[in-house]
């Protein structure tokens, strides 16, 4: 059973899953970088993305009327926009009033927002699992010798990577991206340099949730079903990925996500399915104990 084929299977599975973690982790790492706040509601924004996608593709039945490629493209754009809007509203309501208050208050507000959103999603869409139709995507499987690669796996991976490449270019090539990076390193200095940090925070709360929401849609497409509390586990894992990559570091989040996905897929394949989540958290603790700034930390002098 444990042959090369199996390994490749787990590898492709891990990379795809990892690319999803990476997309979510980006939201955590950008928000944490600028605001030093764990956005506990981020997992719920991810779930929201999945349900918006479900509504567009299944409830409204766009997949049937537009044809799969158009429908999926359209739903991605819609999800990006809608979840970005939700993220922006969240920031305005739950985080902006707390910008200058205690860290703990912000954490609890984030938890409250998370509980609120999770239950709002449950009340709106119900507590049961929702299935994306099996006929949504053509059930194509590429065969390379013995190795099977389903189209959906490739699609999810490519979509995630393309979006991340665009984000990477945006962060590293544009002035706005520079402003985000500067605010993440030192807010005070960034303000002195004429950067409007409030705008940067607002921007981060638009980009992060949009990517998280897209990840939700991709999970729906990839696994075919979603539920209202899936954001909790995905959120925790993506946050772990962000820490693995060094929180605040955007490239780190991408690498961390892919690494975590691979680790999980290999753990699942070679160790134990039941213990794979525990493995994730053991790795998290190990990294924080031995390398608290992550594998790719930002080079920032730490003040006490």
């Amino acid at each position: 059973m444990y042959d090369l084929n199996f390994f490749l299977q787990q590898l492709s599975n891990g990379l795809t899953r990892g690319s999803i973690y990476a997309l979510i982790a980006l939201g955590y790492t950008m928000v944490y970088g600028v605001m030093k706040l764990i956005n506990f509601a981020h997992g719920e924004l991810f779930t929201l993305g999945a349900y918006f996608g479900y509504t567009i593709l299944v409830t409204l039945g766009l997949a049937g009327s537009l044809g799969p490629p158009m429908a999926i493209g359209f739903s991605m754009i819609m999800v990006l926009g809608l979840v970005a809007l939700a993220g922006h509203l969240l920031e305005r309501v739950a985080y902006r009033p707390l910008r200058h208050s205690d860290r703990l208050a912000a954490v609890v507000s984030a938890l409250g927002a998370s509980i609120f959103l999770q239950n709002a999603i449950m009340l709106k869409w119900g507590a049961q699992y929702r299935a994306f139709g099996a006929d949504l995507l053509p059930n194509v499987v590429f065969h390379i010798r013995n190795f099977n690669l389903p189209l959906v796996r490739l699609l999810v991976f490519v979509a995630a990577i393309v979006v991340m490449a665009i984000l990477h270019a945006f962060i590293h090539r544009t002035r706005l991206g520079l402003a985000i990076r500067a605010s993440a390193i030192d807010q005070g200095a960034a303000k002195l340099m004429g950067i409007d940090v409030r705008k940067v925070i607002a921007l981060v709360f638009i980009i992060g949730p949009a990517l998280g929401g897209l990840a939700g849609l991709l999970v729906g497409l990839y696994y075919g079903q979603i539920n209202y509390h899936m954001g909790q586990m995905y959120g925790l894992k993506a946050f772990t990925a962000a820490i693995i990559g060094g929180i605040g570091n955007i490239t780190g989040a991408m690498v961390g996500g892919l690494l975590l996905g691979l680790l999980e897929a290999m753990g699942e394949g070679y160790v134990s399915v039941a213990w794979k989540d525990a493995l994730t958290f053991v790795v998290l603790i190990m990294i924080l104990v031995f390398r608290p700034t992550g594998l790719l930390p930002e080079r920032v002098a730490e003040k006490l």
Binding site: L98, R103, F116
Partner: protein
């Protein structure tokens, strides 16, 4: 430490200090008053922090409240008649959460460590009790100390390497711990935990031959433990240990500079809090008679976390109020079952925006000067930087910005 804040207080006449001590914390009773009188006479030593200033009336009201609460089962039975056991169960649940939240308060409220994995230690206590009782036939009262120690021991092992982590990192690690414990329990670790079905048929506790079975029995049992917990942690708070923890919370770096071994005190706080959660686990297991991993999930930890923060971190009264609000109040809204958490989440956000310090925050401890010292301090020349009323003059009487002595030389090229 700013001079400005401290300055007006010592200028108070000495009599005021004396009066304040007369009105001091009546809750602590006459013994404390005697101690304070002794301190006043001895004079030279700085006194222990005053509790919140309170009148004898406050003490009487507290005693009256406790007395009324002790008759709650009878009061309930006249008020709600046949559904008394149900409401007593609610009050018992509140009591259990109070014990848990008080123990979390030691870690989160006093030592200021963001610990969101308290359910893990609760679980360890509950499972220790269940396993010892079911597999080895121990009585519940015998398992209680073992469960307490077990939770404390595991906390010691787990916390040792992570205790130095700051704020959010500690938060996420403790979430990791609670998830690992849940997964281990679900996967029937060592073949002892019964997997996702949990363990069934745990015995009732019995005290001196008296079996605690009905909600009424548990009411007295649990709330006695709550009372003991409050006394124990109140004493801890005002001990050397408690003062060190407060210092650590206010300013870790300063505490370290003053020679407080911050990691040691943090670890102690963590272990004490976790052990007490283990004790609560014993009570929970024997009350429910059935335990399963679903009880000890992340959201349970979040609930405890919010009880402490909502009530006012660091304040035992706040924690008590918090658990009544978070656990008890929703019972009145059973009809809106599915919307309760929605409201709870929104309430958390609103609360943090308008009252981030919690409903009944702990008052800042203030230290009284021994008699005589106030006058001596008043005679000291005021620091030049202070304007009238101890406020800084508008021109910003800040001391001139000194150049750091070891400042790097100005850019002089490569």
């Amino acid at each position: 430490m700013t001079q400005n804040n401290g300055h007006p207080q010592p200028a108070q006449p000495a009599q005021a200090a004396g009066q304040a001590s007369d009105r001091a914390d009546s809750q602590a009773g006459s013994q404390a008053a005697n101690n304070q009188a002794a301190n006043n006479q001895a004079g030279n030593r700085a006194q222990a922090p005053n509790g919140p200033k309170s009148s004898p009336l406050y003490g009487i009201l507290t005693a009256l409240g406790i007395l009324i609460f002790a008759f709650l089962p009878m009061i309930l039975s006249t008020l709600v008649g046949r559904s008394t056991p149900y409401w007593l169960d609610v009050v018992n649940t509140v009591g259990l959460y109070t014990i848990l939240a008080l123990s979390l308060n030691v870690i989160l409220g006093h030592a200021g460590m963001f610990h969101m994995g308290h359910a893990a230690f609760f679980a360890i206590g509950a499972y220790s009790t269940a396993i010892l009782n079911l597999t080895y036939g121990w009585s519940i009262m015998a398992t209680m100390p073992v469960a307490t120690l077990a939770a404390g021991f595991v906390a010691l092992i787990l916390a040792w390497p992570i205790i130095h982590l700051r704020g959010d990192y500690l938060l996420i690690v403790t979430i990791g711990i609670v998830e690992i414990v849940r997964i281990a329990l679900t996967n029937n670790i060592f073949g002892l935990t019964g997997g996702s079905n949990g363990l069934v048929g745990i015995a009732r506790p019995s005290l001196f031959g008296f079996r605690i079975t009905s909600p009424k029995h548990f009411f007295y049992f649990i709330w006695t433990v709550v009372g003991l917990t409050i006394l124990l942690f109140h004493w801890l708070e005002n001990s050397r240990f408690g003062r060190a923890r407060k210092f650590i919370k206010e300013d870790t770096v300063a505490a370290e500079n003053m020679g407080v071994n911050t990691s040691r005190y943090k670890l102690m706080a963590f272990v004490v809090g976790a052990a007490w959660a283990g004790l609560a686990g014993t009570i929970f297991a024997s009350r429910m008679r059935t335990i399963s991993p679903e009880t000890f999930v992340f959201s349970e930890s979040v609930l405890l976390f919010t009880i402490v923060i909502l009530g006012g971190k660091g304040s035992q009264k706040g924690v008590l109020l918090g658990s009544f609000l978070v656990i008890g109040l929703p019972e009145f809204f059973r009809g809106f079952e599915d919307k309760r958490l929605l409201v709870f989440g929104a309430a958390l956000v609103v609360m943090m925006i308008f009252r981030p310090q919690g409903l009944l925050p702990s008052k800042q401890a203030h230290y009284k000067l021994p008699p005589g010292w106030a006058d001596r301090l008043a005679q000291l020349p005021k620091p030049e930087t202070n304007g009238p009323n101890g406020k800084r003059p508008p021109n910003g009487g800040a001391p001139p910005v000194a150049k750091p002595q070891n400042a790097p030389p100005e850019e002089n090229g490569a």
